[in-house]
């Protein structure tokens, strides 16, 4: 198996002078294989979000490289990076993921419109994915007419529909109660297994961590230990 993601000595420091310097991500080298279901865990401020943003090409590293399927995204910028994210990475955030003026369907369709997928194919994929995330019949609702758990399912659907290599989720369950959180994670796990799709998510929740096939523990921007089940 080849690595979908590989970071080499990647660093992300904030602040200019010695005193204010924050080493949010400090010399991290990891390899993630296709189909892995990885949880990033660690205390608050340990660098989970920063690392996810570096891997997702939302932020540029201070040094080191980030390769996605062999492409070094640390060297990309602007429109090229934007297009790369669109085609290769799916994002799920903690909250406010969706465009409030678009219905669930339109939110899912949006990314395919950016990709230039034709109308018939878009319709087909939207109804297929809505069924997969268990939201049949709710496609024409706007986000404010959906529960938090349903909104996160739409976010998963949107992240997956563009057929990216990896899906990055930063505390996707943090705004959900534990029952809905576990249900959401079970859905992610199911999609991970059925589609052999690579997931990396961060979490604080012990119950959620247990479902991961690999746990990367972070502390002060460094990897403390990396356990595969």
């Amino acid at each position: 198996m080849s690595a979908v993601i590989s970071t080499t000595d990647v660093c992300r420091f904030f602040g200019d002078d010695e005193e204010t310097l924050v080493k949010a991500v400090d010399n991290v080298s990891i390899e993630i294989e296709r189909g892995e279901f990885t949880a990033l865990v660690g205390p608050s401020g340990s660098g989970k979000t920063t690392l996810l943003h570096l891997i997702g090409g939302l932020d540029n590293p201070t040094s080191g490289s980030v390769k996605l399927s062999g492409t070094n995204i640390a060297a990309m910028s602007g429109t090229a990076l934007s297009d790369f994210r669109r085609d290769h990475i799916g994002f799920i955030f903690q909250a406010y993921n969706l465009i409030p003026v678009f219905s669930a369907e339109e939110n899912i369709e949006y990314i395919m419109l950016l990709q230039g997928v034709d109308a018939v194919e878009r319709k087909r994929r939207v109804s297929e994915i809505l069924a997969q995330v268990g939201l049949e019949g709710l496609g024409d609702r706007r986000p404010n007419k959906l529960s938090g758990g349903q909104q996160q399912r739409v976010a998963i659907a949107r992240a997956m529909v563009s057929r990216p290599e990896i899906i990055l989720a930063d505390e996707p369950t943090a705004n959900l109660d534990s029952k809905n959180g576990i249900a959401l994670l079970d859905l992610m796990k199911e999609l991970n297994e059925s589609h052999n799709m690579t997931f990396i998510f961060s979490t604080h929740d012990e119950k959620i961590m247990k479902r991961a096939s690999r746990l990367i523990h972070m502390q002060d921007g460094k990897i403390e230990f990396d356990e595969k089940k």
Binding site: D83, R85, F91, F93, Y96, N97, L98, L113, L114, S162
Partner: protein, 406 residues
Amino acid sequence: MLLFKLAFRNIFRQRRRSLLTAMSLTGGYVLCVFSFSMSEGSYSNAISFFIQDHTGHIQIHKDDYLRKPKIHKSIEAPEDISAILDASEQIESHTLRIFAPSLAYSETDNSPAQVIGIDLDRERTTTTLAAKISEGSYINSEIDGEGYYSAMIGAGIANNLNIGLGDELILISQGADGSIANDIYIVGAIVGDRRSSDRSTVFLPLAAAQEFLSMNDEVHEVSILLKDDGRARAEAEILQDLLPDLAVDPWQEVEATFYQSMQTDKQGNVIFMGIIVFIVFVGVMNTVLMSVLERTREFGVLKAIGTRPAKLALMITLETTMLASISVLLGLVLAIPLVLWFTYAGFALPEPMDVGGILMSHITGELSLYVFAAPLFLILGFAILISIPAGIRAAFNSPTEAMRSN
């Protein structure tokens, strides 16, 4: 298409705010149209007033008579010019004139007077002179039993000399040959009142004036009325080619002082309107920036999932431009009946207003494409202009920063 949909829905997201913005834009547009219509309308009125009063659309002179009138700078053989002008399809009518400063006497008083010799028949079809007669009637060019020609005199002269209809008037001037000219005329009509611009004018039949000033059949000025107001410059050029030895000028040259002050005033009006629109837009800009700041996180997500920065900027510009377009469209619906009323009815002024030296007692607007289009471009231009900084801000904002906010 997608961007349009998104922009359109975002406008309706903050209904009250968009409504207030739209109202100020609509109001600004209507105000602008009205002001442009008023300025264009009052100038059009002033222009048609002096064109019909005496200037005509085009004038022909010898050399620089227009700037430096001298009695000897006269047009020879005006009948040849008349033949050309009478044959032209574009020309409604024309008239021939000669001018001379002179002194006018009655038995008791004297007064300076501007003598204008006019082709009586042609003047009548070219200008509104006949309509300005306040006493007596339009004279003819015949000599009475005692050998005197008739004259029409301005009300100012009648007053200064204390004379009226049927009285004798003595004029003294210098002839073209340097001789002293003097002759007696009978007052046949009084023109205007003591405030009229021709209060100090004495109108003589052309032949009488030519005789008085020893000018044979020469004239100083040919004034031409066109069928189409807009063709003065073009026709003047055509005539200039036909009459290379004479100076042909459109009214814009003849009334150069008026024309330039009108242009300056119109530019001033555009600038003034620009300032008003700018003030309206300071409020709009604030709203646009606020609505963009509020959505920082949302834009961060849009960017994170692969919306190109330029597309995001375009979306924000589109939002403002669409709102402005809707407002202007609404403004157009309101402005059209307003301008129609203003153009065809208008309103009377409590005090006459001076428009480029001409007193106007009634204000009417102008109905033209310019009146609607200029404010439209002004407002849409500003809308695009003010949304650019907001768009750029959103485009360059890093998605990580955006996601950390709020």
